[in-house]
Subunit: 219 residues, 2 copies
Amino acid sequence: MSETTATRQTRIRQKSAERRERQRQETRKAILEAATRMFEREGYEGFSLRQVAETIGYTPTTIYLYFKDKDDLLFAVCSQGFAEFTEALQHAYDTHPDPTERLNALAWAYLEFGLSHPLHYQVMFMQRSEWVTKATDSKGEVEGSNSYTILMNAIIEAMKAGVVRMGDPIETTNLLWSGVHGIVSLALSMRGVIPKWEESEARRLMGNYLEMIGRGLSP
Amino acid sequence: MSETTATRQTRIRQKSAERRERQRQETRKAILEAATRMFEREGYEGFSLRQVAETIGYTPTTIYLYFKDKDDLLFAVCSQGFAEFTEALQHAYDTHPDPTERLNALAWAYLEFGLSHPLHYQVMFMQRSEWVTKATDSKGEVEGSNSYTILMNAIIEAMKAGVVRMGDPIETTNLLWSGVHGIVSLALSMRGVIPKWEESEARRLMGNYLEMIGRGLSP
DNA sequence: TTGACATAAATAACAGTGTAAAGTAGATTG
DNA sequence: CAATCTACTTTACACTGTTATTTATGTCAA
């Protein structure tokens, strides 16, 4: 009997540990969600640890039990952004078999992500761009699944298909990347500053850009 | 006699007022210079009003007698950056009569400014891009003397000369602008983050970009 | 069941930040 | 000489992120 009680006790103990762990992940998730809402409302500069804590009825210091510091929390918020971004590109990649259309679709998806997640985009690629590597590293992603490599693969295939002139794939990827990044970052920077720079202008610019590199990159 | 003393007094009073005004501008300049040094060392996020005050032996509140608030001081720092930037572009414009070379020179000057003034560039065009208009407005510049218009004029002339295909000058300017901005901002964001992205990579990328748009924009 | 222990959360405190209101020596002026 | 004006400081407030310390609360073995 001592044996059965022993096993029962260990079972209970394990269940208990599981439940505690589950609860821990739950409050962690609650903090993260509150932080995300907070970030999407206030942006990078207005993001405040204490306010996040307040909205979910915790003391500021409690957050430190679940995240190393403010940066760590904000990075967790951004990680979701990176995941969504990669997913958007991957979807564009998967749904367009034709090499040329695929490249265009990737550029458009890139733009749409930036326009629909301006705050995320800005912190991911402008304010805290050092996180781009940290994000892909921490998720242990294989080479082929991060956003940069998706773009590069599309370019390599376009080269193979003979619709893009041959050359160092990395250089060409950087060329395309900096182009779309320039359009997106400029659109986000200038929206509300220069009247002309609404979303429509960003889209027209992207159209012109794709048209131009269609000529400039053709073999 | 009362008249001569009266005029003498008024003269003295005026000189005194002038001297006070001169001293006032002097301390204002001292604050601005300290702020500039501070900014170039600490960057946008690390920029602190109280530290600026400390380095020049003033109380924090004194700065408010010369600048409206922290933002106003930082904007004054940036204004110098904008002036230098415009000057660099203007110089590139003036020293290259050939339309094609002129466009290339403008792009290279743009890149060099960004690489040699990374902190200024980032705050001017990435963190606080709303100041681009404020800067040109406050200086009361004519249409033709700000950086954007320099670029556009170069493009208009390149179109007239038949080396760039006809089209809406504004659209083409935006295309070129977003391209070089993409290269510069990405270079600054990724320096130190991705090993490959040193300055040399930015320059190689600019070379490729100019080569490509040479084909893509040719008539 | 009780006493030791671990875990979660809160308190208190520190060193910063920008900013506004009130006070204070010293020059300027009638 | 007294009043006023000017440049500046002192004081204070409401924030910020972060650390060390306490206080409950639940878990666990004897």
